[in-house]
Symmetry: D2
Subunit: 379 residues, 4 copies
């Protein structure tokens, strides 16, 4: 089997999920490539080496430019903080490498547009890690919608609720906390959590036409780890918006890190004329489905335990009844990427799909700032 | 409309549910009788009078024999402790009254048999208050089974879990606690809770052939309210049994008052070749249904919110989505009783049905005592 | 006990829930009045008489003015369509009667203001039937919030989802369908469903400062029953809004009759610094509670089965584990009304509370029309 | 790090779960060994080679004796059908290898006893793969019980429900179906499914004293794949039993492959004086916990989402809210095995623990055959 040598930039939470995916994919999926964990790159040499040892990377590096330019690398995988995405991705594209990038693609649409231009000009394979499309339940939802089972869509609603930043003691920035630093992250929950909701929503229900949003920063000042000083918090702690999709359906979206009791509760629901679908990340192995065409007295919400061979991706795992978890979405994404690239197809979500999501988050932030309905940029 | 004058014996928990049923039935159901709350009978005169005032009974009485013999009474409704059922019911039958009786019918099969003989000889309408048959979700389960949707039945399981007698401080006997006094109650959870499970089970799945049971009294001695002395507890605190139904299906049954966290968790499940059904009393307005004939990738347990007009009894209540509660099962039972009697039909469960359940509880207690598989008496 | 003679205007769905409440309250609650079902009033004489017979009203009437002016009536209860509320309520107040009125109080703030002026000028007891405050689980939520258990509030979200008007075949207006006729109803789901969400929200979380809303009428034309002609639909089928409460918390609200699979799914959630609460109408006998102060490894959402004696109103019903239903909220409301009036206190929600909700729904409709953030009127 | 060279016998479902565990453990856990996938052994050479390629085994072998005797192997891992366990395990012990073995250990207590004797005589590390102990929720249950939170235990109930053999078309025996062949499997659901329930139960609640059981073979004859002939089915399709634990608590156990709608629904519940616990495999990342010592009005079942750092094993995975799945239980088991062995401790469950479970399943089968209460063998 053909090898595909991976250079991973970033060793945090996402560095782990990606490494695991590259390392496991061939055990479970028949794909035309064998990913090779070639190089891990991180600014801190000790950590890079420790990570390489833990995961079996052949080498560790501290300068991402060397990785991008190395002839030993086929694919650059970007799992470093958001403020590094554009520079690395553009350089990788110019070097002719395939590029995978964590979401959000850029810190805003302008950054993302530059990235998209670079990969499209270079003609290199690219994919943004909106992994929730590959939760089998969500993929099944997509199938059901594509099969026309829902009929005309009236409503979409999504939320992503967390509660990990409620404490005023939490600093902003620094190791593991760059998501609280607006300069690094670009925004708060809008780019971190809503971006996931928006990507899935547009995949399932098409483009978004306009939004009316509000954001809030509940804790106004936090100590910044790098300076030790208490400074204003620049990110949005919560972001809510109303939207109208191009297909005429109405939507509410909400993300927050101040919803006590919810750790990573990404929920989505879509209501059609004939059927409706619900899903949530805290029980990601289930899909709720209601079909009005069922016999009257037996209508109800069905909880489908997504562990059967008929379910997307599941024939590759265990036996019916035995659930998989979060990390598997990344494995599915790698499998689909490799299959597409091997077959000469375009793996999705592409960077251009990632840009489309950034256009919506830009509109959300702009609407919140201007307190007015805002059109999503069309390209 | 024809009036039907009720003489109620007993003013406790069940006295209230019955009174409420007689008082409300005409507001919601078109039935051929108007029940009239004629006489409430209780040993304590003050309580009888207070109850009469609260519920609108025309008179209060302390001697049940007078009620039974009164020409102003058409129906004797027995809601007094178990040790009084046989004497009152037999007298009522002899007096030519219709008779309704709380469950269990007698404290054992022998008592129940005498009662059945009396009503059948007198030819009077009779009904035992196994009210859970009239939970709309349970009635729907019966319909689905009768329609043959489940196919061959393999398994039945039921349990009734409570936790209200765990404290050693609780006395046995006395006001509101006669269920702990074996002389009054006849048995513990076997007659109180398992009897419900068994009545529903035989209604849904046919007769029971044989059982293997175990019982336990966890707290061996309690103060007896009437004597003030600490004496051995005679009732069973927990009762579990395996069973084989006449149709070849296998079953587990369990009842206890020592299952911390469960207040009145009556659950039942039936597994057929093609479909399965689950229900529980803590969410009595829902029925869980699984149909294997559904499309493969969409198979799952459907939670049917039993509040639609197509659902049993529900067209008589509110609008879809709005649930009813526990007390409504008694109203349904009265409605069905009045309709049957008015139409010259036999309302069920009859006393004979109640006897059949007592035959099973007798077998359960006998099996537990003898530590052996025990055949249920066939009549 | 003192009698309180009720004159009910309207015999529809709400006429039934109110009649049931007046008829049952004394069986379960010790209150200082005995409501008497004196007169039912409806435009159609036959229906009024049939209703009187079914519920035991002493008389039936077709002219509400006669009822309002009758010396035999102490309390006018308005359960007729929204366009009749103001005229009847004002007349009743002028006649010195106590007045209860279905929600929304008026078709808009202006109508409601006139009603409020009338009752306050007359000094008569008044109450608007926002019955969901009296779901025991919701009342418990109020207690928990009042006890300060949640800490600073960050988020509130509520929705009321139905699916009964999706068919294009459904006419607007006429018997049982006046909620689809904008002239009668005043608005669509905004006044019908969102009003419930808003009343509860302000009760639990205080006043609302401003909103950004969107509404939609999915089916633009329907046959009008009264004329037989297909005419434009004037009501909103769906209404969604973002809000900021006076306490700084953020909110999403949504109501629709186009959410396939939901019959009357009113859900609410409130997230505080220390604890969060969730509730939904499809399982109204449960409250979900999360407390961050629980021991770390044992934190979780607790499903509280609201059937214990410690729970609001529940000591008056059955025994732990046995649920009540929708209709009981009206009984609780009558009980509280009678207790307050008997004790010389003001029963809530008052008409002034009802006006406050109408001010919010006015702002919602105005925001949707103007596509801009709109301040809620302060009085 | 020290290498530990694994020789795996068997390449089926369990061969995959074990290989995955050995391959991933070092990526997530700091353990004193690095497992090396040295040799896979299977009777069919092509399949052995294909499996080796898929999982990265250094070599493939068809004769397990060669693997057992190979100096390149430190640990023999037995994942082949039940009828091979004893012979391989005993040989491995004699060869001085560490031995891990799939459950049940032997086809009956006699076989298991011989295996235990062999490993104890050889003094080699040994472990039986009762993987469900390492579901983090189940491990947490064990902690809570060990901390004494439940108080005196009254009840235990467990069931393992499947529905995959209902079709009469399914053959017995052959590739992937040896679990239906009594000669290979030893028994049906008793050894396959109940064994899991029993192992967990005894771990959580101590030894079982006696049982009363019933078994059933619903489909009496099936085509045997190896002979092509229709022959009697020797396995039990369903197995139910009542039990009394040594601590006096009462139990029901049930396993079946005829419970339509359940794919692998292993559920357990334990009720103590003060607290109760529930868990099920279909939502393995949750634990239900009820504590009576909670404040009265706030008592309820808490659904704990077992994804926090405080939860067993979870600090090694992702971030709060993100669930793991079935396969992780095997990784945890390998991690614990390696840690114990590295630290000179005994990893559990040992083969002796596996024997204890086989003693119970023997008693169950004997009780079902003799239709009598049967004592579990004590050793």
């Amino acid at each position: 089997m053909k090898q595909l040598r991976v250079g991973l930039i970033g060793y945090g939470f996402m560095g782990r999920t990606h490494s695991n995916a590259f390392r496991k994919v061939n055990n479970f999926f028949d794909v035309p490539f064998q990913p090779v964990l070639q190089t891990i790159c991180a600014r801190n040499e000790d950590r890079a080496k420790a990570f390489a040892a833990k995961w079996g990377y052949a080498s560790a590096e501290t300068d991402w430019r060397k990785v991008v330019e190395s002839p030993d690398i086929d694919l650059i995988d970007i799992a470093s903080p958001n403020d590094t995405h554009a520079e690395i991705a553009i350089a990788a594209a110019k070097a002719g490498k395939m590029v995978m990038c964590e979401k959000p693609l850029g810190r805003n649409g302008a950054e993302s547009e530059a990235i998209v231009d670079a990969v499209e000009k270079a003609g290199v394979a690219n994919m943004v890690w909106y992994n929730y499309r590959r939760v089998p339940a969500v993929t099944l939802a997509k199938q059901l919608i594509d099969e026309g089972r829902l009929g005309r869509i009236f409503h979409y609603r999504a939320k992503f609720l967390q509660d990990w930043t409620i404490s005023t003691e939490l600093p902003q920035g620094g190791e593991g906390l760059w998501r609280l630093d607006v300069n690094v992250a670009g925004s708060g929950v809008t780019g971190d959590l809503l971006a996931h909701c928006i990507d899935t929503a547009m995949w399932l229900n098409g483009g978004i036409d306009e939004v009316s949003a509000m954001t809030e920063t509940f804790i106004k000042e936090r100590m910044h780890t790098l300076t030790g000083e208490v400074t204003p918090v620049g990110i949005d702690d919560a972001s809510l918006f109303l939207a109208r999709f191009n297909n005429g359906s109405l939507a509410t979206f909400e993300a927050t890190r101040y919803a006590r009791g919810h750790k990573a509760l990404y929920t989505l629901e879509i209501n059609g004329e004939n059927a409706s679908i619900m899903w949530d990340l805290h029980d990601l192995h289930r899909l709720q489905y209601f079909d009005y065409r069922d016999e009257g007295k037996l209508r109800g919400w069905k909880s489908i335990h997504i562990t059967d061979r008929e379910h997307p991706y599941m024939a590759n795992w265990w036996v019916p009844g035995l659930q998989i978890g979060y990390e598997h979405t990344f494995i599915h994404q790698v499998a689909d990427f490799l299959t597409a690239v091997g077959g000469g197809n375009t793996p999705s979500p592409t960077f251009r799909d990632g840009l489309a999501t950034d256009d919506v988050t830009d509109a959300v932030l702009q609407s919140a700032a201007s307190r007015s309905w805002t059109k999503v940029k069309t390209r």
